[in-house]
């Protein structure tokens, strides 16, 4: 037994070796497998599926945050700001976080200067969400006390707000943006893509409390919006606004529009509509926000006669001094009667413009083919968009010449049966001053497009000289005169068209060019529904032109081209006399009763 007992004791030492080795082997195999698994897992994580794990990790602490950028500035042609974006703070909250500390709501509401109920209602309405605006667009001074409270779940975000330093003076041209900085109206809308910047983005590492710990990388740099330099001149804009405002009040008119163009380039130097609105506080009625100078069409009346005369001269059948008989001051025409304000007797073609005779214009029109009159009007841009690209721009109506009967043709010759915007009118007159070259209108400084020849330069010059007589001593618009400068222009007074006919209310129009020796500026203006006791274009609209241009020419440093008149030191026109003269000389273009306004399609022959 002992023998059998002893061997196991002896080999104990011998057995301990293989036993130990066995354990070691087991252990090393085990460790080896474990190590292999570890390495394999590491390899899987690092090599195989590294992207997956990277993404999972990033999702937990790497955040991409937006770098806000501002909308580009709008300036006038001299770089003066017309619309600026300045940063403001918008306070937002995470309702889930905020509601953990409901006792701090009172403090918060007080700092926000909002009623407690309102804050509560807004937060509780979105209790399960992570985002709600508490108050938008605070100045940094207002937002600081809110953020100083350090209430968990209340954050601030930078936004940009648009300011318009000119306020209502340039409101219609510029338009406005919505709360998200997107253009809604006017040039803000038309040039939205140019003005908006591209927000940048950067990747950061945030800690548990949402603080930025580290900037990882810049995903893309913020691109600030580009500056838009308009052709508008702030000073001219103000002058037009001031004088139109004065005229609007004096004549108790309902609305007025005026446009000043640079003759050579077609750049819009000023565009004003009244009534206006303050674009910094949007609480006006939408109707007041319409840019009437480009969106509203009207029948222009006598100002069209300049183009009738141009068409007549172009046929070669009449000269500026050709005699036209207008006695006895009325003229039967296919069941209708064309009238002048009084019997002008015999007039030259120049006299037609000076006195604004409807009969003479009718006679000239009847003496030429429909197509020719239409063609000339069309070349001057009537019935066609101005090229300004303004949102909602209207082209006006110029019907096809095949449909014109004698009555339509007669009325079109003195400005009824076709419609136009104030901008188109200014443009057409600018073409006369630009040697017969019609330029597309533009709002951008240096954005002049390709012009097209409307009439022969020589004819344009002749026409300009004829239009100068209108502001002369015999003319219907002496009040458009500017001391020291020669002025060419034409008045117009038309009845307002309403559905199915015309009402006893008027539109007073003036379109003119200065200085007439070498025109640089064209202006057209329209005063809608002035006091019916005194509605003539020569009395209502022409003085506005004269007053605007007197200041504008001085501001713009245009040398006087009529120094003799200035030296004579006589005021352009004695005021009292002017009243009598203009009243007599102005001829209202009366629509033929049965005719429909241009807004409706004019049927063949139109005799109803």
């Amino acid at each position: 037994m002992s023998v059998r007992r002893s061997p196991p004791r002896r080999p104990q030492a011998g057995q301990r070796g293989p036993n130990l080795r066995g354990r070691l082997q087991v252990l090393s195999v085990f460790l080896g497998i474990a190590g292999f698994i570890l390495v394999a897992k590491a390899a899987e994580m690092q090599l195989w599926r590294s992207e997956f794990y990277q993404a999972k990790g990033d999702a937990r602490f790497v955040r991409e945050i937006e770098i806000p950028t501002s909308r580009g500035m709008i300036t006038d042609r001299n770089g003066e700001p017309l619309a600026i974006s300045t940063p403001v703070e918008s306070i937002w909250a995470s309702p889930r976080e905020l509601l953990k500390n409901p006792e701090r709501m009172g403090e918060l509401a007080a700092a926000l200067q909002l009623p407690l109920e309102e804050v509560k209602a807004r937060v509780e309405a979105r209790a399960e969400r992570d985002f709600v605006y508490l108050r938008r667009r605070l100045t940094p001074d207002q937002s600081e006390p809110v953020m100083a409270l350090k209430i968990p779940g209340v954050y601030s975000a930078r936004e940009y707000q648009r300011f318009y330093p000119l306020g209502d003076v340039a409101a219609h041209v510029l338009g406005y943006t919505n709360i998200d900085d997107q253009g809604q109206e006017g040039l803000e809308l038309a040039f939205n893509d140019w003005l908006i910047g591209k927000p940048g983005a950067k990747r950061v590492i945030k800690d548990r409390l949402g603080r930025v710990v580290e900037n990882v990388e810049l995903v893309r740099a913020a691109e600030p919006g580009r500056t838009l330099e308009l052709s508008i001149d702030r000073r001219l804009q103000h002058l037009v606004y001031r004088e139109l405002q004065k005229a609007l009040v004096e004549n108790s008119a309902t609305s007025a529009s005026g446009v000043v163009l640079d003759v050579a380039t077609g750049e819009i130097l000023a565009m004003v509509n009244l009534p206006s609105y303050n674009p910094n506080v949007l609480d006006s009625v939408p109707a007041a926000r319409r840019n009437r100078a480009v969106t509203d069409v009207f029948e222009p009346g006598s100002v069209i006669k300049a183009f009738t005369v141009a068409a007549a001269l172009e046929t070669g059948r009449v000269m500026p001094d050709t005699i036209i008989e207008t006695s006895p001051g009325y003229m039967p025409l296919a069941n209708h009667v064309v009238r002048d304000i009084r019997n002008f007797g015999t007039l030259t073609v120049t006299g037609l413009l000076t006195k604004s005779s409807n009969i003479a214009a009718t006679k000239l029109a009847l003496d030429m083919p429909n197509e020719h009159l239409h063609d000339v009007l069309h070349r001057f841009g009537f019935g066609e968009l101005s090229g300004s690209g303004f949102p909602g721009e209207q082209a006006g109506v110029l019907s096809a010449p095949q449909g014109w009967g004698v009555v339509e043709k007669a009325t079109i010759s003195y400005g009824y049966g076709l419609s136009t915007t104030v901008l188109q009118l200014a443009q057409a007159y600018a073409a006369i001053g630009n040697g017969g070259v019609w330029m597309p209108a533009t709002f951008v400084h240096g954005g002049a497009g390709e012009g097209r020849a409307a009439i022969d330069p020589q004819l344009a010059k002749t026409l300009l000289g004829m239009l100068e007589t209108v502001t002369g001593p015999q003319g219907s618009a002496q009040r458009a005169g500017v001391a020291g400068y020669r002025v060419a222009g034409k008045t117009g007074t038309s009845r307002r068209s309403v559905a199915g006919g015309y009402e006893k209310r008027y539109i007073s129009v003036f379109a003119g060019l200065v200085p007439a020796s070498q025109p640089r500026y064209a202006m057209a203006l329209m005063i809608n529904d002035p006091d019916p006791k005194q509605y003539y274009g020569g009395l209502v609209a022409a003085p506005v032109f004269g007053r605007v241009m007197a200041d504008a020419l001085r501001v713009l440093d245009v040398p006087p081209d009529n120094v003799e008149q200035l030296l004579a030191a006589a005021p352009a026109v004695p005021a009292a006399e002017a009243d009598a003269l203009t009243l007599e000389a102005e001829s209202v273009a009366e629509p033929l009763d049965a005719l429909r306004p241009a807004a409706e399609p004019v049927p063949l022959q139109g005799a109803r």
């Binding site: 501002s70 003066e80 700001p81 600026i84 974006s85 300045t86 940063p87 940094p140 930078r158 300011f163 330093p165 000119l166 003076v169 580290e214 900037n215 702030r234 000073r235 103000h238 002058l239 001031r242 001391a483 001085r554 006087p560 120094v563 200035l566 030296l567 030191a569 006589a570 005021p571």
Partner: protein, 89 residues
């Protein structure tokens, strides 16, 4: 043994040196980012200030205001034709 030391020691030294360099550059990076964000904040604040000043300038330079100040405070007016001297070259 000797050749092990010959390879191992420089490696060890290299590891320690590069480790210290990593720490160093990391620290440098932190400092620069702090500086960057400080400068960015400053830039933003200057931009805000600039915008405000531009607005203020535009408000003060409004033509209607200049006109009012000229007429009411400085008693300026346009010269009448009799007061104008025309110089001819």
């Amino acid at each position: 043994m000797n050749w092990r030391l010959l390879i191992g020691l420089p490696l060890l030294v290299g590891v320690i040196v590069t480790a210290i360099m990593v720490v160093e550059s990391r620290q440098h990076h932190r400092q620069l980012s702090v500086q960057l964000s400080a400068l960015e904040t400053e830039r933003d604040e200057l931009n805000i200030e600039f915008g405000r000043l531009q607005l203020e300038q535009a408000a003060l330079g409004k033509t209607s205001r200049i006109e009012r100040v000229a007429a009411e405070q400085l008693m300026m007016r346009s010269p009448t034709p009799t007061e104008v001297e025309v110089l001819r070259p």
